[in-house]
Symmetry: C2
Subunit: 307 residues, 2 copies
Amino acid sequence: MSSVHYQRVALIGLGLIGSSLAHVIRRERLSDVITGYAKSAETRATAKRIGLADEIHDSAAAAVRDADLVILCTPVGAYGKVAEETGPHLKRGATVSDVGSVKGAVVRDVAPHLGKDVHFIPGHPVAGTEQSGPESGFAELFTNRWCILTPLPGADAAAVARLEKFWRACGSNVETMSPSHHDMVLAITSHLPHLIAYNIVATAADIEDVTNSEVIKFSAGGFRDFTRIAASDPTMWRDVFLNNKEAVLETLGRFSEDLSVLQRAIRWGDGDTLFNLFSRAREVRRGIIAAGQETAAPDFGRQPGKK
Amino acid sequence: MSSVHYQRVALIGLGLIGSSLAHVIRRERLSDVITGYAKSAETRATAKRIGLADEIHDSAAAAVRDADLVILCTPVGAYGKVAEETGPHLKRGATVSDVGSVKGAVVRDVAPHLGKDVHFIPGHPVAGTEQSGPESGFAELFTNRWCILTPLPGADAAAVARLEKFWRACGSNVETMSPSHHDMVLAITSHLPHLIAYNIVATAADIEDVTNSEVIKFSAGGFRDFTRIAASDPTMWRDVFLNNKEAVLETLGRFSEDLSVLQRAIRWGDGDTLFNLFSRAREVRRGIIAAGQETAAPDFGRQPGKK
């Protein structure tokens, strides 16, 4: 049996990431048994109907029993409560990880509830779609994406290496960093972009001179792309912003400062400042395509109705 | 011969929109002859090599000779010069239109150079991709997108109707509005989104605590989608911002105001404000999908390397 294999994996939360994990664990035969828990009865019923896991439990405590890998996949705001409920029921030597988009707050909320005989290794697969719920998952979600692990000082090296292998078996690349560095990296690459997208959609919806029907009709001019990212799960994102306050406020301050420079350039007709900044942005784009994190296909031109 | 048909169509500028027009005009047989002009010798050579038009001219004045439809497809900052050069060479009764993303400034720059025996009908197909140049065009670009026409008071109704039919034959829906209303609608649906996208890419590139390589690696968390829109042509976009100053500054002011409310909600831990705004954004997204301007497929999860 490969060292990647866990006997029982418990997925606490069965939304986009939890259900995608269920699919890839099964496809890659990474565990004998998958157990699942979701707070909502409706989600549990759906998960049972589509056969997402081998066992679906009504309580997180029951789901984690005898599991040697527990992965928290709920919105991060619920982690403290889940850790408190499941902590006493964890198997000795189990690994507890998660998929949350913030890491400092997760360490703060989860660690106090776990015994010393449990390996707590926070994680974050940087992957997702704008959809949510137990039916939105698919096994390929993690392919060629990065999973960040933020083990704490003194973490068990063998347990970390095993979890790292698990994520590689899911198709991911793996990188290790501190929780605080993770939170700053994600603030700029993920949290701020989502905040900006949510904000511009609201600004557009409120503008009096332009009807909502016009905003929708003419959205192919660029706005459409913001609504895609702004369609992500509201509960998950509320919790992200409440739990990565400092890094988000820091990057938001820089964003606003930079935006003032552009605003002034527009007001004073300074075309060179605009052109130079716009040209720099193209270079970053080329880097992302070269790194395999994006395709070069002209996606703006995507055809309506194509699934 | 259908009234959509023009004998000679002149495309002044052979980038993404000009070359897409050449393809769709040919596919739909909307003219007998397509003539083209581009400022750069390299673009003209490429256009000749790929057979983009029937005639490629070294001067705009030569390209418009005898044309009954002239479409300006250069960045809008070049329109005044092009209109001045071509004005004296236009055929009596010709229609002059354009594809520029701003309309007030186009009327200001172009109209003074055109004789009274020419029909000037500004237009804007709200369609595009993040790519540019004579080889980026494709005939389907305008399919099910909206083309906005902004005829001036007293415009010839028959000439407007004919141009409208032309755009419908290109696959577009057509709507008519005033230049100033166009400029406000596009400021919020297209210009502001591009400005914000360019700005966040620059903010991310400059942040000291996060390396550019990290920004690129972890871009699948949301940032990636902004770089796509920020990869659009810098010259075109510089000209847009210089020529729609008032509407862009107005929408930018609202955006910043709204962003301050979110910033405060994050600072004070006001989860309800965040959740309510995030939920509203989902509704706008649903409207765009229902209107056929976007697909519901989970595009965030797009696979690397897929073309």
